[in-house]
């Protein structure tokens, strides 16, 4: 193997982190954007290349040449492969889309630094999914969330409430991360190792109170970061007051990375302690996920502001994914990963479309201000419609595939009640989408003028809308990747 291909796992993480430092110093916002885009394109190539080279295998990469139990290990297996691909692809589309929005919503002097934080977020999340070291994971977690807080705070140029949202995100996020590290500390105390594979073999031998406490702390910390139900309070404000470009990036990938880590903790690190993790999944994860499905959907129904509506619906969608993890069979975890991929495309597309509406209108998009836009901005709003249908799970869209796999996996487990609840909450999600569709398409535009649409804005939205349709019709690659991910997590390798 050549030196580049061998080092791909490290490159996907190191490249954005290094370029962030360079871009922060560049005064020209145009150059900064071009460099950011080039970096993200390279990262995308690296992530795909790495995935293609390692298909069907689990490849370990030793950082700095130190062998795994001592040195930090990066691992490319089914699960990190699919996550790296989601993060790279969605970052690429968001970066393409970011330029016109960031220039409108953020103070000119701040733009290069915004791109620097943007790359730090991407690099941090990449590290989060690649690393196989429990403590190293915490460092990447904090890199990505501190830079995400900075990005959210950039929304202050449009709406000062962004600052308070960012502050709460910072405090709650820091507490979550600290919980995670406390858990790692307990596990380290009984096993003397931080490598995940090593932990997985040594933890079952050390079954004792510290292990259970450690698991509880780690799982709680990651649930905070993933915005699982009762600890999701930071999410709606942070996503809705962030600049539009940032909302689309964060909603598409940020919580997914945390959910992936949660899965990794439950199935890989503590995979040998099924009685303990089973307890957490049955009595904590499943009930909370079901509450999340309903709380998120119902709050979204009563929401007028579109970005907040979408953020609340994210809570419900995260509920579906954590529910799938909570049931904990290979089939449901596969369904969870399918939904992670699809939801990244759906929510990314929806937030982008709403962001494009808000920037074109020059004010926040709510049910009053988008009245009649279906006719005034047909290109953007029809992409919104496609992603919306996918969110509900209409046939021929990606959302349908996730629902089908989730429901059939649930029925295989004999979980009739839970299946009914899933169906009920997806039926409820029609309500808030219909409210959006009704005011956009069924009512006349107040001024009746046609608004010039910017191809830089609707182009990326349509990329995701088309992706939603393609992966709704031809779902094989997504399903294969997700199944690989589930196998890698549950089987403890390969």
């Amino acid at each position: 193997m050549s030196i580049i291909t061998y080092n791909l796992p490290a490159l996907v993480v190191a490249l954005p982190l290094l370029m962030a430092a360079v871009i922060a110093l560049i005064p020209s916002r145009r150059v900064a954007w071009v460099l950011t885009l080039m970096t993200v394109i390279s990262v995308t190539f690296a992530a795909y290349g790495n995935a293609l080279m390692t298909i069907g295998a689990s490849v370990s990469y030793e950082l700095g040449g130190w062998p795994p139990p001592w040195g930090i290990e990066f691992i490319t297996d089914g699960a990190s492969r699919v996550m790296a691909i989601i993060i790279a692809s969605l970052s690429l589309v968001s970066t393409l889309y970011a330029k016109p929005l960031i220039e409108k919503e953020i103070h000119l002097d701040d733009i290069p630094r915004t791109y620097a934080a943007w790359l730090l977020t991407i690099g941090g999340m990449m590290g989060l999914v690649m690393t196989a070291d429990a403590f190293n994971l915490f460092v990447f977690l904090e890199i990505s969330s501190l830079s995400a807080v900075t990005l959210v705070a950039m929304g202050a140029g449009v709406d000062r409430r962004a600052l308070m949202a960012a502050f709460n995100y910072l405090i709650i996020g820091a507490i979550g991360a600290t919980f995670y590290v406390i858990g790692v500390g307990f596990c380290y105390a009984v096993t003397g190792t931080l490598n995940m594979a090593d932990l997985a073999t040594r933890l079952p031998e050390a079954t004792s109170a510290p292990v259970v406490v450690g698991l509880a702390f780690m799982a709680t910390g990651m649930m905070v970061k993933a915005a699982a139900f009762p600890v999701h309070m930071w999410l709606p404000a942070a996503y809705s007051y962030a600049p539009s470009a940032v909302s689309s990036l964060l909603s598409a990938v940020a919580t997914k990375a945390a959910i992936y880590v949660l899965a990794r903790i439950l199935f890989t690190v503590f995979g040998g302690l099924e009685d303990v993790t089973g307890l957490i999944m049955t009595w904590v994860l499943i009930p909370l996920s079901i509450l999340a499905m309903f709380a998120g959907t119902i709050l979204a129904i009563f929401e007028h502001d579109l970005k907040k509506m979408l953020a609340q619906s994210s809570i419900a969608q995260i509920g579906y994914i954590t529910l799938a993890l909570g049931i904990g069979t290979t089939a449901t975890v596969t369904a969870g990963f399918i939904h992670m991929v699809n939801h990244a495309m759906i929510k990314g597309g929806l937030f982008m479309a709403v962001g494009a509406l808000a920037v074109t209108l020059g004010r926040r998009a709510n049910l009053a201000s988008i009245t009649g836009l279906g006719r005034a901005m047909p290109i953007t709003t029809s992409a919104l419609l496609v992603c919306g249908f996918s969110l509900i799970g209409l046939p021929l869209t990606a959302g349908f595939i996730s629902k089908i796999y989730l429901i059939s996996a649930l029925l295989d487990e004999g979980q009739g009640v839970i299946t009914a609840l899933v169906l009920l909450s997806s039926a409820l999600s029609v309500v808030y989408l219909w409210k959006m569709i009704e005011v956009m398409w069924m009512r006349p535009a107040p001024e009746g003028t046609k608004i010039q649409e910017n191809p830089w804005m609707y182009g990326p939205v349509w990329v995701l809308a088309v992706a939603n349709i393609i992966f709704g019709v031809y779902a094989t690659p997504v399903v294969a990747l997700a199944r690989d991910a589930a196998m890698a997590l549950m089987g403890g390798g390969a």
């Binding site: 709406d159 000062r160 502050f167 910072l170 590290v181 380290y188």
Partner: protein, 118 residues
Amino acid sequence: MIVVILMMVGLYMVMSRFNLVKKLIGLTIFQTSLFLLYISLGRIDEGTAPIIDASKDYAYSNPLPHVLILTAIVVGVATTALGLALVLRINDAFGTIEEDEVLLEKRRDYSQHKGGEG
């Protein structure tokens, strides 16, 4: 023991104070308890600093937790710095750093938005 007390004091401060700077102080106390937890893990009774001296048979403390916590301290400093920077900006934008007063201001924003568009 002191770890648990600090942890609870910090967490309580984060949740109960309205003053944003006090919240940050609480967060710092909470994180400090974590540092102490790790450092106490590395201690071995009668242990000495882990500098290998082959001539004598010492018990050495485990240096790894200390190194880890050095990283965590750096992260903690970054978190506090970012938090304080945000508090400064909040003070500029809202004219206060008391959370309940900020909430009042936010509510005013909200009603203005509604009124402007309704």
